[in-house]
Subunit: 139 residues, 4 copies
């Protein structure tokens, strides 16, 4: 199922990311998704520095996460990421987090972003070269 995901990155669960139930706190998964977005964009040559240099920023407008199996301290997680949809000024990233320590899918989800002017935070069209780079990566 994850072969439709053209990109992945891995992290190891830190102690401060767990909570008193003994596993990773539910809100933390959004940060893991976010790490994957960052690494994905850097991998296609569109780092955050680059984005700011083009007077662009990304606003997060929607997030969804399903928690499938718990992950624990020191578990190695692989975060798969793809672009599910690109609109005029928005894009949806899809995620699957696979726990390589337990061999289980631990969570999946989506984040929708809107491209914005980095100073005014007004909506901007996703620039063509980013659009192209995202589509190229997807194939």
């Amino acid at each position: 199922m994850t072969d439709l995901y053209p990109f992945s990155t891995s992290i190891r669960v830190r102690f401060n990311e767990t909570d008193a139930q003994g596993h990773v706190n539910f809100a933390q998964y959004l940060n893991y998704f976010d790490v994957a977005v960052t690494e994905y964009l850097r991998a296609i040559g569109f780092s955050y520095q680059q984005m700011l240099a083009e007077n662009l920023d990304m606003l997060y407008v929607d997030s969804h996460a399903s928690y499938i199996a718990p992950s624990h301290f020191e578990d190695s997680l692989r975060i798969h990421c793809r672009v599910g949809k690109i609109g005029n000024s928005s894009a949806r990233f899809d995620f699957q987090i696979f726990n390589e320590t337990t061999n289980c899918l631990t969570a999946n989800g989506e984040i929708t972003i809107v491209m914005a002017d980095r100073k005014t935070f007004q909506k901007m069209r996703v620039p063509d070269h980013l659009r192209q780079a995202l589509e190229d990566k997807q194939q």
Copy 2:
């Protein structure tokens, strides 16, 4: 719109909850939702201590958040919370976060929980007295 929400609690945005975009980090809103769940359950006499004493715990299985307008350091946020649905072993909490400093809706969302045995994390039926207390509060 928020009069359908029988409960609310308020928090003030802390500096560590913001990020380099200058406003509250998107993942942080899930923690705000979680604060409301905690306070709501305490308000109906079902604190976490009480839950554990009944050998119960809650697992978070799904979350969704829409980010409507940014909130900033020191803003006062009112988190409205209601029970949207109670199933056999699950419940869905709905949230609206109103920014009392800017008079704007800042975010809304939902969390779905599953009631579980606190030791085995096996699904359990939502106990009748909790179900009743949640329904009473809703009216």
Copy 3:
């Protein structure tokens, strides 16, 4: 011992502030200290908005925390704060966190800040009216 502390504020431990050892994560106490600094400054009429309006910002240059007894989810913590020392461009805040649920001192510590230009982050002298307000509060 805490009567030497002219200011205090209280918070309730949130679930995401705990870790897999079942109590509040050690790094979190710095955020609690920080909440007290914010509330203290607001209480003497020098909110962060006010500071920025005067082209000032505070840089944190040193922190120390001693962890005395663990605190847990839903515990009510009272954070006592005082100014231990004011230098030319720096100030040291001292903290004691008393757990009102367990009646134990849970942590104490210090944070040293340097007053800086909000744009260049260059050191600035602590302005006289802030210096005066801090000293007045201390008596």
Copy 4:
């Protein structure tokens, strides 16, 4: 100066670790220190799993951090770690965090831990094989 540090690990700054001042939040450095402790102990064959299996846990009793130069989103940080002192039941870890993106020392500090029974949290002597492994690594 860092050649006295027998171990290091690296991380990349995540967006949620920054705050509205535009750089890494001061409390976050304690989590970075903690990552280094975890990786250090794993490197000498004493992972957290192993520790728990020996009925041991570590309690953090003291932390100190000096913030020398700010770090920013996506900076690559190398966290150097050494054991500064081993007592009967305690140990002090020393840290230096070098920012490999800016070529600056960003922070340094110390964490003191106490070895404890994993269930009762009573103080325990640092076991000889861990003591030996820590001393071996240091040479």
